[in-house]
Symmetry: C2
Subunit: 451 residues, 2 copies
């Protein structure tokens, strides 16, 4: 948190504790609503409600509400008269309304919808029907479009009248059927003589997305071509809305968080929902793969009980053989999963990365295998010392090498099947690595130690 | 990769194989340089050089070069006459030049600098001195600033003359000492009468960053306030440059990738550098913590060799006890690390998250502990069956509970010390969890089984 927010938070806490209402009002009036929304997260529930009440106007309440975390805006909305809340929500932009309503419980959502103006309600209903993870789901319908025959001068006048288009970076040029035919930048408007028709200065090769394209692809396109907004069209090329750069940034952050949490076997509800019980329910199944893997390992070890009894030192090295394999496996899988997400690993380069990861896994295995063999030879100096050293050294190597194979090929395989590779990383890879590691270990033990 | 890029790549491959030079030229001419740069990654080295040669102009070469991955632009630059390359580099914007040169080997960098115009060289030298991870390191010096007394009409004329300012979203208003005093949006220019002085319509409360602020903070500010560009000032408030939204997006993606890879004990060189040897060198040290942890576990097990000999079934459950603990530990640590990075976990909420994670860890531990105790009781039906079931059940619980403590508190602790918590997650947490897990396991075994 930066010092600006910290100062705001501390002032609010202090003034609320002293019940200095008029000073709280003054502080809120001077602050940006984005900042107020940020610090509300750190206040307790009753303070949050007080702050929301003390905001200067319903416009400020609406802007603050739009920036709040999901669990907080649900808390605020549920605790207040629904008529007042629907007035506040009516002041938001359509994309903020859609986002907010889509996260509310069904009955609350319907109640608020019924209190809005009929035309707003119809538009919102349509927006709510789009999948939230697609271009249409994150688009804004407040864009600025003009007919191809309009001139620069007309565009400037039209722009001056359109006060409610929050971020007009581009003017979208459409034909009589409202089909998108090009884009004119605000700057091109200024640079050309007033009588120039938009048709002459519009871009020829417009980047656009269709309504059902995944939000991740939309974000990639905006980032690749450095665009401030991307037009969204339907299957007939009719312009439906635009995805603006601020939403693109949200998507990029969201997708990164989602991937990180998925790889660790958790998911985004980790933040949105603070109840331990619902977190237990989402995390427990992820651990089941680990549990099954552990059970398989224990059954395998059970099969070698007789050998272990004769050479109990073998048990001491089980954790290190599995641990090193597990770590290399998740390193490798993470590199491949993230590479697939960022576009570094793709399209025919899979084999190249696989070979590279196997080489690295093999090298790391040799290094740590030799290290452990030396330790083992120094630690256990009996007649089986050499055999034990060979067993543990080669097992570390084999475990790390197979881990690299599993870690690199699993996400590539899932990607080819069009299944999200982030899911493959955590539990699946470590489980496979555990079972293979144990197997390899006891095979080497049988071989070298003759037990 | 989207179908547009896939089509481009396949066309280029096919035409290059057939040596259809004029058709390759035609395809390249029709394509966006960002797309050409993207697909060059998937061509082989000689094809890459051919494509680069066949681009229509040095302007296109310069734009393509600016979009290439680090290892690829080094490959292109090193293999070509330095005089031509410096002409191409001279066509880039200053921030692209800085980014490119800062990644080149020292001698190549100096050689190219010496071939540039003296004034360009001086400016670049200054840019190269800034830390690459700060606001100044990612800023562009091509911004648009005007004196406070200028009018809207003057601003529009000045804007029409400034062809080289690639993305002018805002006009920065400065006083006679070039100190930043406010910002005027392009839109405000259009909305106000031509004679209005900028002073009257500029923002009062300007968001800016200082030159040495971390790029991650810059990105957070731009995202929080939905800004298209952020002005960068020195300690005297003099305007030095701007960070544009496209660079902000790059920072957000880079930082997410960096965090993900760090947590898995790898780092960003995983993509930039494709040599197995240098990857070995960066990844081997990360594994050392795991190796030490494994060694500590093996020494601990060695201390209980006598007990193991008597009750060899104990060895069979070591992997599952450690595995479950390790997984919960990294789930928890990942949730906290990502929460700290996105601002969900911060400022006084640490304790709240700690308690929640312990609760979840405890619940998961009870669930899987009971499950394993039942399995153990069914599998090993001897006179020690109950004692063994109690030992493994309680060990799973204790291992998962301590893992949650370690996983949640380690990143919070590092964050407080201002050390990047992403580093804490991987090796450190799993190692601590391994050692604690073994200890707890044998303590329970001694207690319940009397061995």
């Amino acid at each position: 948190m930066n010092s600006r927010l910290q100062f705001l938070l501390e002032s609010l806490r202090k003034l609320l504790r002293r019940n200095a209402i008029s000073r709280v009002k003054k502080v809120l009036k001077k602050s940006r609503n984005e900042d107020v929304a940020s610090v509300m997260r750190y206040l307790d529930e009753s303070q949050r409600h007080q702050v929301f009440d003390l905001l200067a106007s319903d416009q400020d309440r609406s802007e603050t509400l739009a920036e709040l975390d999901e669990n907080l805006f649900i808390e605020i909305i549920s605790a207040r008269p629904i008529e007042h809340m629907s007035q506040i929500i009516a002041l938001m932009s359509v994309d903020d309304q859609t986002n907010l309503l889509s996260h509310l419980p069904e009955d609350l959502k319907l109640e608020i919808l019924s209190l809005l103006k009929p035309e707003d309600m119809a538009e919102l209903q349509e927006m709510l029907d789009y999948d939230r993870e697609t271009a249409a789901g994150i688009m804004s319908t407040e864009f600025f479009s003009l007919n191809e025959d309009s001139t620069c001068a007309e565009a400037i006048i039209a722009l001056q009248d359109a006060a409610d288009v929050e971020m007009a970076f581009y003017i979208y040029v459409v034909d009589l059927q409202e089909k998108l035919t090009g884009v004119v930048s605000l700057r091109a408007l200024l640079m050309n003589p007033p009588q120039t028709p938009l048709n002459q200065i519009k871009t020829q090769d417009t980047i656009f997305v269709t309504q059902d394209q995944d939000q991740e692809e939309v974000a990639k396109l905006a980032a690749r071509y450095n665009l401030l907004a991307l037009p969204v069209v339907d299957e007939k090329n009719k312009l439906l809305g635009i995805v603006t750069i601020d939403d693109v940034i949200d998507v990029i952050r969201e997708e990164a968080t989602e991937d990180i949490l998925k790889m660790a076997g958790a998911n985004e509800t980790a933040y949105e929902d603070s109840s331990a019980w619902s977190n237990f329910r989402t995390r427990a199944p992820w651990l089941f793969a680990t549990w099954m893997g552990g059970l398989a390992a224990s059954i395998l070890i059970g099969l070698y009980e007789h050998q272990l009894q004769k050479q109990v030192a073998l048990a001491a090295f089980i954790p290190i053989v599995l641990g090193m394999g597990g770590n290399v496996g998740s390193q490798t899988a993470t590199i491949i999963v993230r590479g697939l997400a960022t576009g570094h690993v793709e399209y025919g380069l899979g084999a190249k990365y696989l070979v590279r990861e196997l080489t690295i896994g093999g090298m790391l295995g040799i290094f740590y295998g030799v290290l452990l063999a030396i330790y083992s030879a120094l630690r256990y100096q009996n007649d089986q010392a050499l055999a034990l050293a060979l067993t543990v050294g080669l097992s570390i190597w084999a475990s790390m090498f197979t881990a690299a194979i599993v870690g690199a090929s699993t996400p590539l395989f899932f990607h080819r099947l069009k299944i999200d590779p982030a899911i493959a990383t955590g539990p699946l890879v470590t489980t496979a690595v555990d079972v293979l590691g144990i197997l390899v270990y006891f095979l080497f033990a049988q071989w070298f130690m003759g037990i």
